[in-house]
């Protein structure tokens, strides 16, 4: 049990009266790569955002490295932690967004070093050294002084990945990291993610890239209508295709 870096139990979420999930359970072990696939509206992105505490959830628990995040019990009432505590809990996770969400007024280097300076309290020189090391790892050593507007989508997403991993999180969360990219730029971003996986990073990836999910994952989760409908190894999910719903979903991709 305690080797689970991320443990989700009985997670429930509503938007108003609309139920987004019910009873979602998921375990992610250290070093594991988990892909979440499913149709739009199945709740995969919202699930990821709950883990990063960008969304509230109404019931259930999320344990990160053994500790509950987001909510705690006070006088037998469920209470959300204060924003300061939540800010600290978010350090356990790193998030890469579909739309990159780089800070538009800062260079690539500043985008990556901001958190190191403000949150990790590194000196500016140390932070910039660390930041340029990560930018180099994602293949952007010649772009460290460029602004987001001067970079291609693929380059922006690689800066965003560097920004997330530089904070040294326990788990990396990817929310459809290539969905906003032109097809010819998808490869460079997926390669960076594969590299991180090969280096032993723990990751949860929401994706529509089935081939990539097949290659990179230890475990694949198929979500349907707010529930985990199937879960298994890539071979079990993509080759055996146990349920009708899964067959139907996968048949829309020619893989």
């Amino acid at each position: 049990m305690d080797e689970n870096l991320l443990q989700i139990r009985g997670l429930e979420k509503w938007f108003g009266t609309l139920k987004v999930f019910e009873g979602v359970d998921l375990d992610v072990k250290a070093g594991e790569v988990v892909s979440i696939i499913g149709a739009s509206g199945s709740g995969k992105t919202t699930l990821l955002r709950c883990v990063n505490l960008l969304e509230t959830f109404q019931a259930g628990t999320i344990l990160l490295d053994g500790n509950p995040v987001g909510y705690h019990e006070a006088n037998s009432k469920r209470k959300r932690f204060s924003e300061r505590v939540i800010a600290r809990q978010r350090l356990l996770t790193g998030m890469v967004f579909q739309q990159f969400n780089l800070f538009p007024h800062m260079t690539a280097l500043c985008n990556v070093s901001l958190g190191l300076i403000k949150v990790k309290k590194l000196s500016k020189a140390e932070a910039e050294k660390e930041a340029s090391r990560w930018l180099e790892r994602v293949g952007l050593s010649d772009k460290i002084h460029s602004r987001p507007s001067q970079l291609s989508g693929g380059q922006q997403q690689r800066v965003a990945i560097a920004r997330a991993v530089a904070m040294n999180p326990k788990i990396l969360l990817f929310d459809e990291p290539t969905s906003a990219l032109d097809p010819e730029l998808v490869g460079e971003v997926l390669n960076v993610i594969k590299q991180l996986a090969a280096d032993g990073a723990t990751m949860v990836i929401v994706t529509h890239e089935m081939r990539f999910a097949y290659e990179v994952s230890d475990k694949v989760v198929f979500m349907d209508k707010g529930k985990i409908a199937s879960m298994g190894t890539p071979a079990e999910i993509f080759e055996e295709r146990k349920s009708d719903r899964l067959k139907e979903f996968l048949s829309t991709f020619n893989s």
């Binding site: 990063n52 505490l53 960008l54 924003e83 300061r84 800010a87 600290r88 978010r90 350090l91 996770t93 790193g94 998030m95 967004f97 739309q99 969400n101 780089l102 800070f103 538009p104 007024h105 901001l114 958190g115 403000k118 949150v119 965003a160 920004r163 997330a164 904070m167």
Partner: protein, 219 residues
């Protein structure tokens, strides 16, 4: 009918006008600075998730924006002493103009804050920044870049509004012009020169502000 132009009699008193112009500029800059702070504060209230804070901001904007500036100046200058708040002329005027400017700034800043994509703020949260750090390092710089053109326009408009200070005998440009007018009776000349001074000053301001904007845009 023939009018005999005589500008020399006005130019003889040009330092009075130039000093007035300078005073007007100072009043505008002081009011803008206080107005910006007030507007920032109220804009953050306006975008707060707490309803009553939004109501406070809304109330302020509605009240101040719908009162004519001259009436506001009279309330502050003639009204406050009655409740034992004594301010000098200049302070009263800056107080009134700041309140007024703050209401407009609130709307400008609110729009500037709301224009920042939510995802960028979430990216700040995701790397563990606290709400205050997000405000200072992300929201404020992006917002200021967004609103710089409107801020510049508003400074020019505030500068022209300082002519209303004449109504409480502050010796800025309009008041000085009125004084020269009463002394010389060269009505046309005095007011034409005054208008020209306003136009040149505003034009120069606009020119400088465009430069500043361009600098910020490139960075």
């Amino acid at each position: 009918m023939r009018y005999f132009w005589n500008f020399n009699i006005v130019f003889a008193q040009i330092d009075l006008l130039l000093n007035g112009l300078l005073l007007g500029l100072l009043l505008a800059v002081a009011s803008l600075m206080i107005g910006v702070l007030l507007g920032l504060f109220m804009a953050f209230l306006a975008t707060s998730k707490h309803l009553w804070l939004r109501v406070v901001s809304r109330f302020y904007v509605t009240l101040l924006r719908n009162t004519p500036l001259l009436v506001l100046i009279f309330i502050v200058y003639f009204g406050l002493p009655d409740i034992y708040v004594r301010l000098g002329k200049n302070e009263s005027f800056v107080f009134a103009l700041s309140l007024y400017a703050g209401a407009y700034m609130t709307e400008v800043f609110r729009a500037g804050l709301e224009a920042i994509p939510k995802g960028i703020i979430e990216a700040g949260q995701a790397i563990g920044l606290t709400p205050l750090q997000i405000c200072w390092n992300i929201q404020l710089p992006i917002m200021f870049k967004n609103v710089l053109p409107s801020l510049g326009n508003y400074l020019i408009s505030l500068f022209k509004d300082t002519s209303l200070a004449a109504s409480i005998t502050i010796p800025e440009l309009t008041y000085s012009a009125k004084k020269i007018n009463t002394l010389t009776f060269r009505v046309f000349e005095v007011w034409l020169v005054t208008a020209a001074l306003y136009i040149v000053a505003c034009y120069l301001m606009a020119f400088i502000l465009r430069r500043v904007e361009r600098r910020f845009a490139i960075q």
